[in-house]
C-alpha cells in the first residue's frame, strides 16, 4: 500500500497534474522509462513505441515494484520537458520523434541511474534537429487507407533510432535500449511494399490466404526481419506418441500402421526444423556465412523426407549406437572426441535413412542432436575426415579399429559387415594407413582407395573449413549424451 500512497503523492504534484505530451488534466497512466504521467490517449501512442522506448503502466490498475516507483520518483513531467528543451525538443514535438531521439535515450539512462542510486552526470548537450515534418499518426483510422498509412510511421518507430543523425552520442551507454537486440539495417518496410498493404485491406479473407501462402514460401531459419518465415513450434501431437516411446517391440509399432508412424515422423521433422532454425541462427551469429545455414536447411529438409520414409530397422541401430556411445565415453582424450564425431557422421551416412525415426524412441532433445549429426552427410563427412587428418595424423588408431570390431560383431548388417572386412583386408598391409580405412570409411567406400584420393579430399576440406567448424557444434551435443 505504501506504493500506492507514494504514487498518489507523485501524482498530486503540480507538474504531474497535466499530461506530459498534451494538456489533459489528471493523467492516470505513467511511463516508467521516463518517470512521467500521461493521459490515456498519449499512453496509447507510447505503447506503440515498444517497451524498450517507453514502458507504460496504469497508476491505478497495475501493481508496482519498488524500482519502478523509484524511477517515477526520480522523474517528473516538468523535468523531462525541461531536459528535452535543452536539446531543442519542445513539448509539442510529435511523440514518435520525441521519444526516439537521442535526448530521450539519455534521459532514460539518467532515470535508470538515479533510481538505482548511481552517480549520473549529464553528458554534453548536443542540439538535435528532430524531423518534425513527418505525418502525425492518425487517430482512429476512418477507412482502411488510414490504417495502412499509419503503417509507415509505426514501422519507423519500431526500428530504434532510425531517424537520427549518424553521430553517436557519448552519453548513450547502451543501457537504454531494453531488448538489446542487434541493430539491423533492414526493416519490414522493405519487405512489404505499400501497394501490397493497401490492396490487402480490401479483402480480409484473400489477404490472409495470400499471407499464409507467402509465408509458406519464405525460407526458414531466418528471422522474419530478414525475410524469413514466421514459424510455429509446439508440443508433440498427443499422449499416444508417448506410449509408442515406451514400447519395446519395433514390429508391434510397425503393425500399428503407418498413420501413427507418419505422426511421429512429422513431429520429429517439426523438432528438427525448429532445432535447425535455432541452430542456424546461432551459426549466423557466430559469424559464419549464408551458405552454411543454407546447407543446414537443405539437410534438415532431407531428414524430414527420409524420416517419413523409413521407420523399422531402427532398434538395431539404436542398440549399436548406444553401445558405441558407451564405448566412446570411456575414452577421455579430447582428440578422441573428434574421432567420435567423424565416426558418428560416417556411421550415419549409411544409416541415415532411419535417423529421425531413431529419435522417435527417445526424448525430443536427443532428436535434435541425432538428426543434426546424422545430417552432416556426404560431403561433410568427407570434409571432416580430411581436416582431422591434417590436424593430427596419428591419433588413437587402436581405438578406432576397436570400434570397428565392435561394429562387425554386432552385425545387424550382414552385407555391410562383410564389405567392411574386405576393406580391412585390402588396407591391412599398409599399416600406417589403417586409419584412413576408418576415416574415409563410409565416404570413400565404393572405390575404397581413400588414401589415394587424399588430394581431392584435402581440397574440399580446405575450401570449406567453415562447415567443419560448424560440424563441431552438433557433435559436442552428441557426445554430451544425446543418446543417454
Amino acid at each position: 500500500m505504501a506504493a500506492a500512497t507514494r504514487l498518489r503523492t507523485l501524482q498530486s504534484q503540480p507538474e504531474n497534474k497535466t499530461c506530459v505530451d498534451c494538456s489533459q488534466k489528471n493523467p492516470q497512466w505513467a511511463s516508467i522509462s521516463y518517470g512521467i504521467f500521461m493521459c490515456l490517449e498519449c499512453s496509447g501512442k507510447h505503447r506503440g513505441l515498444g517497451v524498450h522506448i517507453s514502458f507504460v503502466r496504469s497508476v491505478t490498475m497495475d501493481s508496482w515494484s519498488e524500482i519502478q516507483i523509484k524511477k517515477m520518483e526520480s522523474g517528473g513531467n516538468e523535468k523531462l520537458n525541461k531536459f528535452l528543451a535543452l536539446y531543442g525538443i519542445s513539448k509539442e514535438t510529435e511523440i514518435v520523434s520525441k521519444y526516439n531521439s537521442n535526448a530521450a535515450s539519455v534521459y532514460r539512462d539518467r532515470i535508470q541511474a538515479l533510481a538505482e542510486g548511481r552517480q549520473w552526470r549529464d553528458p554534453v548537450v548536443v542540439k538535435e534537429v528532430v524531423n518534425n515534418n513527418k505525418k502525425p499518426p492518425l487517430g482512429l483510422a476512418q477507412g482502411s487507407d488510414g490504417g495502412w498509412d499509419d503503417w509507415d510511421n509505426e514501422d519507423a518507430f519500431r526500428s530504434p533510432r532510425r531517424n537520427q543523425s549518424a553521430s553517436d552520442f557519448r552519453g548513450y551507454g547502451g543501457g537504454g535500449g531494453g531488448g538489446g537486440g542487434p541493430a539491423k539495417s533492414k526493416s519490414s518496410e522493405d519487405i512489404y511494399s505499400r501497394s501490397q498493404l493497401e490492396a490487402s485491406a480490401a479483402s480480409k479473407e484473400s489477404f490472409f490466404a495470400r499471407r499464409m501462402a507467402e509465408n509458406e514460401s519464405k525460407p526458414e531459419g531466418l528471422p522474419p526481419s530478414q525475410g524469413g518465415k514466421y514459424v510455429g513450434f509446439g508440443s508433440s501431437p498427443g499422449p499416444s506418441v508417448r506410449s509408442n516411446q515406451q514400447s519395446g517391440d519395433v514390429f508391434s509399432v510397425v503393425s500399428e500402421g503407418f498413420g501413427r508412424l507418419s505422426l511421429v515422423a512429422a513431429s520429429a521433422a517439426n523438432v528438427v526444423q525448429s532445432g535447425t532454425m535455432e541452430f542456424t541462427s546461432k551459426v549466423k551469429e557466430g559469424g559464419l556465412d549464408n551458405t552454411v545455414s543454407e546447407t543446414v536447411n537443405v539437410v534438415a529438409s532431407k531428414t524430414t523426407e527420409i524420416g517419413q520414409r523409413t521407420w523399422g530397422i531402427m532398434k538395431g541401430v539404436m542398440a549399436i549406437a548406444s553401445q558405441k556411445v558407451e564405448e566412446f565415453t570411456k575414452e577421455e582424450s579430447s582428440t578422441w572426441n573428434q574421432q567420435n564425431k567423424n565416426e558418428g557422421i560416417g556411421y550415419y551416412q549409411n544409416k541415415g535413412a532411419t535417423n529421425s525415426s531413431l529419435g522417435g524412441s527417445q526424448s525430443s532433445s536427443s532428436y535434435q542432436n541425432n538428426d543434426r549429426n546424422s545430417n552432416s552427410w556426404d560431403d561433410w563427412g568427407e570434409e571432416n575426415n580430411t581436416i582431422k587428418k591434417e590436424a593430427e595424423p596419428k591419433v588413437s588408431q587402436s581405438s578406432l579399429s576397436g570400434h570397428q570390431n565392435s561394429y562387425r560383431n554386432s552385425n545387424s548388417w550382414d552385407d555391410w559387415g562383410e564389405e567392411n572386412k574386405t576393406v580391412k583386408k585390402e588396407v591391412a598391409p599398409k599399416v600406417s594407413t589403417s586409419k584412413d580405412d576408418d576415416d574415409d570409411g563410409w565416404a570413400g567406400w565404393d572405390d575404397n582407395d581413400a588414401k589415394d584420393d587424399d588430394d581431392g579430399y584435402y581440397q574440399s576440406a580446405a575450401g570449406d573449413k567453415k562447415s567443419a567448424g560448424h560440424n563441431g557444434k552438433p557433435d559436442t551435443a552428441w557426445t554430451g549424451g544425446g543418446f543417454l
Binding site: K45, R242, S274
Partner: protein
C-alpha cells in the same frame, strides 16, 4: 417436464460459440491481433484495454467468441476471469518476442493463470502462444520463447494440454492464421 417446456425456447438462445480467451502482459498486442483477425486492418490506436473486450467473428465457417483480457490490472482481475473461462475451448497467450526483460514476468504470469484455471476449464483446452512483434529485428525465435516460458512444463502438469508457439506480426497479419489453424485443430469441441 422441464425439458419439454424448455424446447420451444431453445431457439431463442443461439448455440454458444466456442470461446477463445486472449491474455498476456500489457502492450504485447492482444488487441492488435484481435482487430487484425476481425477486420483485416491494422489497429492504429494503441490505447490500453481496460477490463476486457469481446469480439465474435467467423473463421473457416465456424464462428468464435474471442474474449480479450486487458493486460493492465491483471492480477486484480484474475479472479473475475474465471467466470469467462467456463466454456473455453482454447487459450491464446500473447508475448512480445522482442521484450527479453519481461520474459520472466510473462512466464510467471502464464503459469499462474494455468494454475488458477486448473479444474475450471476442460483439460484439453489448448494453449496457443503468439510470439508477437516477430518482425522486429532482434526478436526471439519461437523455440527460444518456448524455452523461456517453460512451456514443456504445461505438459508435465497436464498431458492433454497441447501448446504451440506461433511467431506472428499483428501489423501485417503474418502468422495469425497459421496460429488459428493450429488452435482449430487442437482446441476442444471445434
Amino acid at each position: 417436464m422441464g425439458t419439454t417446456l424448455g424446447k420451444p425456447f431453445a431457439g431463442l438462445f443461439p448455440e454458444i460459440e466456442p470461446r477463445i480467451v486472449f491474455f498476456g502482459l500489457p502492450g504485447t498486442g492482444k488487441s492488435s491481433i484481435l482487430h487484425k483477425l476481425k477486420t483485416g486492418e491494422m489497429l492504429s490506436t494503441n490505447m490500453p484495454t481496460v477490463g476486457l473486450d469481446m469480439e465474435s467473428f467467423k473463421y473457416k465457417n465456424s464462428s468464435f467468441c474471442f474474449s480479450e483480457m486487458g493486460g493492465h490490472g491483471r492480477y486484480r482481475m484474475i479472479s473475475l476471469w474465471k467466470h469467462y473461462f467456463h466454456q473455453v475451448s482454447g487459450f491464446v497467450y500473447v508475448v512480445d518476442s522482442r521484450d527479453r526483460e519481461r520474459m520472466e514476468e510473462a512466464k510467471s504470469f502464464l503459469h499462474m493463470v494455468m494454475d488458477e484455471i486448473q479444474g475450471h476449464v476442460p483439460d484439453n483446452a489448448a494453449v496457443l502462444v503468439y510470439a508477437n512483434k516477430h518482425e522486429v529485428p532482434g526478436a526471439m525465435s519461437a523455440s527460444e520463447i518456448s524455452n523461456e516460458l517453460d512451456l514443456a512444463s504445461l505438459r508435465q502438469r497436464n498431458w492433454q494440454r497441447n501448446w504451440h508457439v506461433q511467431s506472428s506480426c499483428a501489423l501485417t497479419g503474418d502468422g495469425l492464421h497459421e496460429g488459428l489453424d493450429w488452435l482449430l485443430k487442437n482446441a476442444e469441441r471445434m
